[in-house]
Subunit: 480 residues, 2 copies
């Protein structure tokens, strides 16, 4: 357990805590350096900070008992799902243990008539998709990563479908949560709406494991659409693409997905898959409904594209054709990484009112260009949400400083435009400084709630609401 | 100010508090009995409990200063909008002042492109509708009453459109709130989604003024649909009507409204408006979209009705025809009151998973019949939400006891069915006992949050989370 670098307050678990955890969990409590490191090796751009030990949970009583032991010895406890969070949410800056929930991956109940499912927190969305295959239903929230549903709830994740189906906020009906005192509570019901009591479900969704640890989720499902139309069109400028999004929303086009790739993304996709798409800002759209409905939506959208100065809108309802049209969007992440071999991708996301989307993206592009960075932009533009993927040479400290400047400028600009410093990645460690700016005096209210529910600050400390420190890209951590 | 009946802890405001309020608010602080009584004369079935004084607020600084004075002298402060809440939310069981927000009724900003509006809390939804008339946009949340938007947010109101557009929970983007300590915070942003920080917006929505007082709301708007189809059909049994709702949802019918009246309601409407509708369980539906879409939805719905044993489904897109078809639904409240002259209507609402709707309504009808009560049922059945309107002879104590039994049985049954004791009316005083059953251990979490944000319990005390007492119908209050 002595693998922490110096400078940390303590370099191991208190011996009594380790003994208690060993006694309760046996082989499911592990402290080998390799296991601890694995639980800090995530998709985040922040330096990994490994826990002192890992508890593998199989049932809610394991979570309860781990929290009770950690509470008794004031040991930090950090819920861990798939390790796909992007802003350092599962790092252990104050040590403590990682509570690995990946083995709690069962579907508990599928209610086809009422269109909900109850799952354990470690179930991944792909596993849920597979479980639903014959039900006629689907769960719409689809972040890029192979995330767990508990993690998705905890970061208030969304994805490409949010413009029509909402995010984890709208699609989590109820939760079971273990509190810092070890009590297990249930929030919400299986009814679709309620006016009864404080909305604790929405409080734990997005709390990143700082208020409690989710042991079960009741999620809303939707009937699989009869037909899907997918399409693609290009524009001279991002402003024209963004204006087309705004027009489509105002003209009540029933959008299920509307995604933007900038021209650099498109170039990467062309190289990756030997395509010959025009290397210009490109919108990818999808419509859900019955065949006539999706055809009519596609036709209406085509007219908006044409009148907005876009080029030919290609669309199809046939699955194979749709798949070809959308291939670039689906492969964008890998295509970009392939285009910049040896670079590390650092992604940041913001979300603004849709009328400001074009200004915000344009200004980001100006900054990227001025700073000489390679940073394609991908957006869930129906929500006003977009990502900048900065492809960094991590040996080049000047470039790192420029990336920090870009992230800082972009986040502050989004907040000034009436938006938020993160549309779907969460705050974790990476956005604490911007969240503090965004929320102003409301941060104190959040801190009061945190203190009320976790007075000893054992639940994922050093995240979200902690005193904001400047997070330096690759600047202050141990090497992985 | 000496108008309180004996038995209360104190019978007036502390003299220092009254002096401070008079000094700050002058004529906008009133203590005349008539004014105080007016602020307890609401639509609730609970006995009125008047405040000791009323402050009329014109701007957020008034709210802030009223809270600061109340905080200094530990005086309860109760936000008051239109007085249309149903569960005693604006009663003053512990005295204190009512903060009348009805004069803060301005539209602050209308963002047509981004489809949101910023309003003061005292604006009514009718006034908002009027303000939006030329914008091409509308706000969908439509509780029956002429409520204020601040009150609607505070009770997490919904209405007939919720099946498609959601409730105040989904449609409140951001809030400005004055806390118990007098600080003014902003929650949320103008972006459509965010993963930044605890979801304070959703925490204050539905908190019934117990955590803070709302001084401004940013609400989501929607484009007015190009076309609307409205229709009506009858069934032999409520079970068949409820099954039709379930089938329509599963078969992806794009429902904008789906409302149920039971046969007693229909009879009342026939009498009220000299109609000749079949006196059987009746569904009223509405579809929004372009003309072809709504026509197709109506046709698809017709097929479901027929195969589910319903009678002819009459529908129309013409406004006048639609209006006729829906007249009964719109007039139900008044028709029922007219049918039972001299009776007082006591309404209770519950919400269950949709597959349990028919069982729950059927059991309610069995109980109503066994108890010999006159109690029609009206439901927002697309959400699993329905209301029982008990028409009571308030001089008949045996009948009152029966109504109490019905309410108790219905609420507990809804909770046992995985539902909630209130879909849209809120907890107030009337549902405290049932909310305690529904939330179990989670009530302590709510109390911890309440204590953290309002340690002296000055914000609307005795509501929602207070130790549950048996609320006797007309049983314990002073006469109005």
């Amino acid at each position: 357990m002595q693998h922490r670098s110096p400078g940390h307050k303590s370099s191991a678990l208190p011996i009594e805590a380790a003994t208690a955890l060993r006694g309760r969990f046996g082989e499911d409590f592990q402290t080998e350096a390799a296991v601890c490191q694995t639980h800090a090796q995530t998709l985040t751009w922040l330096p990994p900070e490994a826990p002192y030990g890992v508890v593998f949970a199989y049932r809610k009583e394991d979570i309860r008992d781990a929290i009770r032991i950690c509470s008794r010895y004031a040991v930090p406890i950090i819920a861990f799902g798939a390790g796909t969070s992007l802003e350092g949410q599962v790092n252990a800056p104050h040590g403590g243990i990682s509570l690995d929930l990946s083995r709690m991956d069962k579907l508990v109940e599928l209610a086809v008539d009422d269109m909900y499912v109850v799952v354990e927190p470690g179930m991944t969305r792909e596993a849920l998709d597979a479980s639903l295959q014959t039900s006629g239903l689907f769960f719409p929230v689809d972040p890029g990563a192979a995330a767990t549903l508990g993690g998705m709830a905890s970061t208030r994740a969304s994805g490409t479908n949010a413009v029509r189906y909402g995010t984890m906020r709208e699609n989590t009906l109820a939760l079971e949560v273990v509190l810092a005192n070890g009590e297990i509570i249930r929030t919400g019901t299986r009814a679709r709406k309620s006016s009864s009591g404080y909305d604790l479900t929405r409080l734990f969704v997005g709390a990143e494991g700082t208020l409690g640890i989710i042991t079960g989720l009741t999620l809303r499902l939707y009937p699989i659409p009869e037909a899907i139309a997918g399409g693609r069109c290009t524009f001279d400028t991002i402003a024209r693409a963004a204006d087309t999004v705004l027009q489509a929303l105002k003209k009540r086009i029933d959008l299920a997905r509307i995604e933007l790739l900038d021209s650099l993304c498109v170039r990467a996709c062309n190289r990756h898959a030997k395509l010959a798409m025009e290397e210009a800002p490109t919108l990818f759209v999808e419509f859900h409904g019955d065949m006539l409905h999706v055809e009519r939506q596609a036709e209406k959208f085509r007219r908006i594209v044409v009148s907005g100065g876009g080029r030919a809108f290609d669309w199809a309802t046939d699955q194979e054709e749709r798949s070809k049209l959308w291939a670039a969007r689906r492969n964008a992440w890998w295509a970009i990484h392939e285009m910049f071999p040896g670079r590390k991708g650092v992604t940041t996301d913001v979300c603004v009112p849709i009328s400001r989307l074009s200004d915000c993206v344009d200004q980001a592009r100006v900054d990227i260009s001025r700073l000489g960075l390679d940073a394609p932009i991908v957006g869930h533009v129906g929500d006003g949400n977009f990502h900048v993927l900065i492809m960094l040479d991590v040996e080049n400290s000047a470039e790192i400083a420029k990336a920090e400047e870009l992230i800082s400028r972009l986040n502050q600009m989004a907040i000034e435009m009436g938006g938020t410093c993160t549309g779907e990645h969460g705050v974790g460690q990476g956005k604490m400084a911007y969240a503090a700016i965004e929320h102003g005096g409301a941060i104190a209210t959040m801190q009061a709630i945190k203190h009320a529910l976790d007075p000893n600050n054992i639940l994922n400390p050093g995240k979200m609401l902690a005193p904001a420190k400047a997070n330096r890209l690759f600047g202050q951590g141990r090497s992985p």
